[in-house]
Symmetry: C2
Subunit: 244 residues, 2 copies
DNA sequence: TTCCACAAACTGGCATACAATATCGTGGTC
DNA sequence: GACCACGATATTGTATGCCAGTTTGTGGAA
């Protein structure tokens, strides 16, 4: 065991008290979180030794973590040139949102039939948090609350497979969803949509909940042009080159 | 490099000529194939050293492969008690089929709009192969051709994300889908369903293709009782205990 | 000044050695 | 005879060293 010297790693090295997870599992979670929080952006290279230092472990658990993330599609291998955070083309991004829309729609339908009282409350709380964050223009807070809202619906579907797949996909597109969340007006327009979806679930209207969620998540409407506009403004050429 | 002695490993050790994939990637593919082919069944333990011997590599690439498969949900970790091929509960299985149904439905809808001529031919060929296999009661052949049929539709959706997710899910439920395929009458009933789906795709009727595929894949109708009957007959208690 | 070639450092892939922990068998005692 | 405890063994988790392929930088020649 290496003793932590004064050159402390930049990441926390505490083990979560809940479960003594293995180091590789710990690295998976922490890396996922860093990507989800936008600290590592699509296209960033992932150097094994650097990550090992960063997390205070050896290369082996880092490599295993990267393999897992690669299998999830969160990072991609470029042959012997190392790995990098997955960079979705514009086409991939639209595809991913169409898949996510279907899965969220299914989750909403099943949630409408299966939701439990405690999840009922949790969903209302998440919706409340979204509203508050939107009112005070707290984009970061809204992003968090929005994740909670959608994750609660996934949990309420009581469909373990669906929850897992949805979570994987959510993490994969989270860097891009962030930029959408931060679009002006996006937060405000989400609130009534959330409200309608939630009400449909509460009254057990699976078809309606499903349909509402599908259009809420789908990017192909207004969202697409908004996104394109944003990308043009901020010059994310990597995405736009796909349009040539 | 270890020279292959006369105690040859039971698996082929040739490198595919196409691309010099890494050993861990090779192990992933070969293990997936063995699970897909039913050579390794749900609940089977996966011993690292044994697999390393089996594939003629060291434990490191085997471990990395297992990590990837674990991330896909194909194998599950049981703490320090090693890994085993994922064993879906009955509830999980129904959930998985409901998710697969939605994703295949989406694939069919997009395929109806985007299919290319060469994929048109490929789909017809796969359908032909299914028919032939069904006629001569070749369950194994039908299983293969059926995979090809569904995979062609996924490819024709030209949705990379969807194809990947669907592939992962397909592999995960393949052991169970096998038992369904081998139900008496299942092959025969699939042929007209495939026919209808294919025709809907060919005439670009996305809504119809989607709907037909959804009911084709969904287990909740006749398929469920068939499956339960099968499980009872063959006493797969591990699944049935979930019913208690 | 520019381009090519060669070398050195870097980085990922694999194997092996070591550490920690769980399981199983055996022996002793109640 | 049965149950518990302790130790041997097997298996997983982690670290490290070596090798191969790639990239980059430098020096020389055109």
């Amino acid at each position: 065991m290496k003793i932590m010297s004064d050159t402390s790693p930049s990441a926390e090295t505490v083990i979560l008290p809940g479960e003594p997870e293995s180091l590789s599992a710990s690295v998976v979670h922490r890396l996922e979180l860093e990507i989800l929080k936008g600290q590592r952006k699509p296209g960033d290279r992932l150097d094994e030794r650097q990550l090992a230092d960063h997390f205070g472990v050896s290369r082996t658990p880092v490599r295993e973590a990267l393999q897992r993330l690669a299998a999830s599609g969160l990072v991609v291998s470029r042959g012997r040139q190392g790995l990098q955070v997955a960079q979705l083309s514009l086409a991939d991004l639209l595809d991913a949102f169409s898949v996510a829309a279907e899965m969220e729609a299914l989750a909403s339908a099943q949630a409408a039939r299966r939701i439990r009282p405690d999840q009922h409350n949790r969903l209302e709380a998440a919706h409340q948090a979204c509203s508050v964050a939107a009112n005070i223009r707290d984009a970061e807070g809204f992003y968090e609350a929005n994740l909670e809202f959608h994750e609660t619906i996934a949990a309420a579907s009581h469909n373990r497979i669906l929850s897992e797949e949805l979570r994987r996909l959510t993490v994969k597109i989270s860097p891009y969803r962030r930029t959408i969340t931060f679009q002006p007006g996006r937060m405000e327009s989400s609130i009534p949509e959330h409200e309608q979806i939630m009400q449909a679930i509460f009254r057990g209207d699976a078809a309606q909940a499903s349909q509402l969620m599908r259009s809420h998540v789908t990017l192909l409407g207004d969202g697409l042009s908004d996104l394109l506009h944003f990308l043009r403004l901020y010059g994310d050429q990597k995405l736009l080159t796909e349009l040539a």
